[in-house]
Assembly symmetry: C2
Homo-oligomer: 167 residues x 2
């Protein structure tokens, strides 16, 4: 679990995070090392799975998608299976397994409301073990850095709710 990332590695990731297509030389110049060194460190981090992938971030509003966030309450013991099953659906592009009342939350993208309805019918109502679900239209994405995991199988964090507060 513990990782051996030094300051230079973290600086490289920071720069890549802002500009994923930056050249090795540009990154190296910024950090006072050669581009070749940057390349080898990036190769190493990719092999070690620290770097999962490089991707493009697009504006869903300009692509005319309807973005919906879902929260699921699942039967005990079925959570991981349900997560995998839902994650396989094309329109689901983010999915997390959580502690707390909603075991699974995920984001999906639909072309129209009909597409949304067929998803709830064909997927959510078809999967066994979903006690309840809620869904809300995402009206606005303020930030989404995309700097997270893809297909992680870690099972470390404690199974408990951190906090639940009413002011």
């Amino acid at each position: 679990m513990a990782t051996e990332l030094d300051t230079v590695d973290k600086q490289i990731l920071d720069l890549l995070h802002d500009e994923g297509r930056a050249t090795y030389n540009d990154i190296g110049e910024e950090l006072g090392i050669t581009g070749n060194t940057v390349r080898r460190r990036m190769d190493r981090m990719r092999e070690e799975g620290i770097i999962r992938k490089f991707t493009v971030m697009t504006d869903p509003a300009k692509l005319d998608y309807l973005t919906v966030a879902f929260g699921l309450s699942t039967e005990a013991g079925r959570t991981d299976d349900i997560a995998e099953e839902i994650a396989e659906t094309d329109c689901v592009y983010k999915l997390w397994v959580l502690s707390g009342t909603h075991n699974i939350i995920f984001d999906a993208r639909f072309e129209d409301t009909e597409h949304f309805q067929s998803f709830t019918h064909d997927v959510l109502h078809a999967v066994e073990g979903i006690a309840s679900y809620e869904s809300s239209i995402v009206t606005r994405s303020v930030i989404d850095d995309g700097s997270t995991v893809l297909m992680s199988d870690e099972e470390d964090a404690a199974e408990q709710t951190v906090a639940s507060v009413e002011d």
Copy 2:
């Protein structure tokens, strides 16, 4: 709002989505066009805001972060201000404004539980207009494509809950 993306543009985005550092020539070869055309289309999509940025996706487990998902209920009229305020915090790396009971959901990354506690105290308890909040540890990220918006100011989607079902 409506956008003029043809099939080639969408194919370019699909390929970039999987491999954000793909060369223009590689993309062009895949689609049967020259790399030159790919570059000009990518430049155009970036100017039009369809492409927001290129980024690297890393594995938070390997970076030793504690990932926590929050759901906020805010006072009417304060939602956007609160969203902006929270989004400015360093450890918050995803934030959406929603319809429904939880107006704002966001993901934050903490170095340890102390960092988590100082965040809830200094940020969540300091901001006016937060009626209640919930937080859950993210035990597992099954997918996270990162293919979404950064700093969108669109305000189009209807302000209503799509569905809320109890089976």
